[in-house]
Symmetry: C2
Subunit: 199 residues, 2 copies
């Protein structure tokens, strides 16, 4: 009744995040109807990326080479180390800021219930790096979630133990945000952490 191969393709698309049965179906039909060339290319690049992209041995970010271009770059300041949860965060920071230091990608966050502890996030390797003394500031840029905050707390202790100054991204009202629509937690924090306006 149905095409086994077409059904297989629909099933295969469901591996993508946020893609259910309906969307997978739409994707399969779209590729077959209108984008065979693009689909061919996706198939090839996907196979190549999965085969070749591993992790940088220094920062744990995705990398085709043993050491990623950022870690290998001579123009990056190695005293500043920014800890992030995922590679996507690095992209966001690079696009938004002029940060010239290096990164350390946890590839997750502390979540004891899911069996994710300091070892799984490579924090032993991070501590060894901090102990070397090259890093002077550890910029903790984990997410503002409960788990992200717990991870940040742990990282701050780790930094202090190794005589490295920990810092955390500022929290408060988003730029352009209207008080009326800001969530209570953020507003309460922003109110409590108000700063004096200098003349």
């Amino acid at each position: 009744m149905s095409l086994p191969l077409l059904e297989q393709l629909i099933e295969a698309f469901r591996v993508l995040p946020g893609v259910g049965q309906k969307t997978a179906q739409r994707m399969a039909y779209h590729v077959l109807e209108r984008a065979r060339e693009g689909g061919q290319r996706l198939s090839e690049v996907l196979a190549e990326a999965i085969e070749k992209i591993g992790h940088c041995v220094q920062c744990r970010d995705f990398s085709e080479t043993e050491v990623c271009p950022v870690c290998a770059s001579a123009s990056r300041e190695r005293q500043m180390l920014c800890v992030i949860e995922s590679p996507a965060d690095r992209l966001a920071i690079e696009h938004a800021t002029s940060y010239r230091g290096v990164y350390y990608v946890l590839q997750g966050r502390l979540s004891p219930l899911d069996g994710i502890g300091p070892r799984e996030l490579g924090l032993d390797k991070l501590e060894a790096r901090l102990a070397q003394g090259e890093v002077t500031e550890l910029i903790i840029a984990t997410n503002s979630t409960v788990e992200g905050e717990a991870t940040a707390h742990y990282l701050a202790q780790l930094a202090r133990r190794n005589k490295v100054r920990p810092s955390r991204l500022a929290q408060g009202l988003p730029l352009g945000g209207e008080l009326e629509y800001v969530d209570r937690g953020t507003l309460s924090h922003a109110f409590g952490s108000r700063s004096e306006i200098s003349e």
Copy 2:
């Protein structure tokens, strides 16, 4: 600064419908972080599907074989022919109804402004088939859009010209729909096409 291969992968994902830069990024990271096996499989099935899936010579639906399983099936009634716009419509009808006839897939709808006329939809082949006399009812199941209606009108004329009875899916309130939330066009049509309640 960035991984060429990773950027290529993100770009390649954008071929999928409804996938912009952000979603493509999330898909690429998700596959690399958590679903390498599924990604590998997607790559393989996608290449195989693009290579092997063509169109059924009888109904124009997607098919791995020259004649698709539905058209080749001996248990299908060949006097009823249901005309649909896309292969996804066949799936929807098969799931929802107990229709045992065969299909004809337009792979589009009449849209003169986009250069899509009767030829592009294979209506010459459809007419030849109706002329053979095997088909007695042409069930027109194009979408309830302006273009779908125009296509339905054209198909009905085609059917009558060849002494085939054309029919159209019923239009009105969706089951479980509340009057208050039904769009004006549908409500107006349903009101006008009200039917008498038999005792």
